[in-house]
Point group: C2
Chain length 131, copies 2
DNA sequence: CGTCACGTTTACGTCAACGTCAAGCACTCT
DNA sequence: AGAGTGCTTGACGTTGACGTAAACGTGACG
């Protein structure tokens, strides 16, 4: 509450990102810090956007997808349409993630099989060595 | 059985990879096809290695990791040591994959939460529109 | 007044696993 | 001889999310 805006370093500390990342996000039009001369000052709006960006990344959205969703909210169309669109995109992403999990589970099961096989082979070696 | 070696196209058809992939693997020293003049001829050994490569990829090993494991078998040390080493690497990989799955599960749960929230918000819009 | 510490811009580098040309040889069919 | 097909090498392009280096500015501190 000391002030309404934050410097790049304060942002980095607060959100655990590097300056490079913030500048990169600005260049990609994900953030729009105002300028004090040459320096960036990040507003509440930027902070809200950054939170959404980081959350989106955890969900596996690409920065481009995130940008499109954020733009949706900037163009200030119907709140309901924005929400519906976001909901739809999120649902698709969820499906992707569940497919990913299925594949991962399959691979894990297969790898466990292989490990069991290897364990047995190693046991055979040990038996042979024991005599 | 027509012959012991296969051309690049036969390999591609048999293992569902592109010629580029096979040449790439050769350049990375994962495969060592012999040459008939300028053409590549893939031996049984190459086919065995390719199978291992493709399996390793399903498990999420990088090509470099796969190369190291394959090299292990070429250097022809003790069979037991090779197996033990492979077993160890595979186990580490399994741990990675299970961590991945945990993260993915967490993200999926979080995203489902968000979707539930969005669903409710949309329902509120619809109720508002219904009057 | 010097010198930090932090800020800036621009531009090129990184990593993985190939894809995509471009240009040319080798062989076969007609 | 010409056409077509398949294979070759070599080099650059792709994708995503930044890292890194160079060269410079600027404000605060002692």
């Amino acid at each position: 509450m000391t002030s309404d805006v934050m410097t790049i370093r304060e942002m980095c500390d607060a959100y655990d990102v590097t300056p490079r990342t913030l500048r990169f996000y600005e260049s990609k039009e994900l953030l729009f810090p105002i300028r004090d001369g040459t320096r960036r000052l990040f507003t509440r709006r930027d902070r809200a956007r950054l939170k959404l960006i980081l959350r989106g990344k955890r969900f596996g959205f690409s920065l481009e997808e995130i940008r499109q969703l954020l733009d949706l909210y900037d163009r200030d169309g119907s709140q309901e349409l924005q929400l519906a669109r976001t909901y739809q995109v999120a649902q698709q992403r969820l499906e992707q993630m569940e497919r990913q999990r299925a594949e991962l589970d399959e691979a894990i099961a297969e790898l466990k099989d292989q490990l069991a096989w290897g364990e047995e082979a190693l046991a055979a070696f040990r038996r042979a060595a024991a005599e």
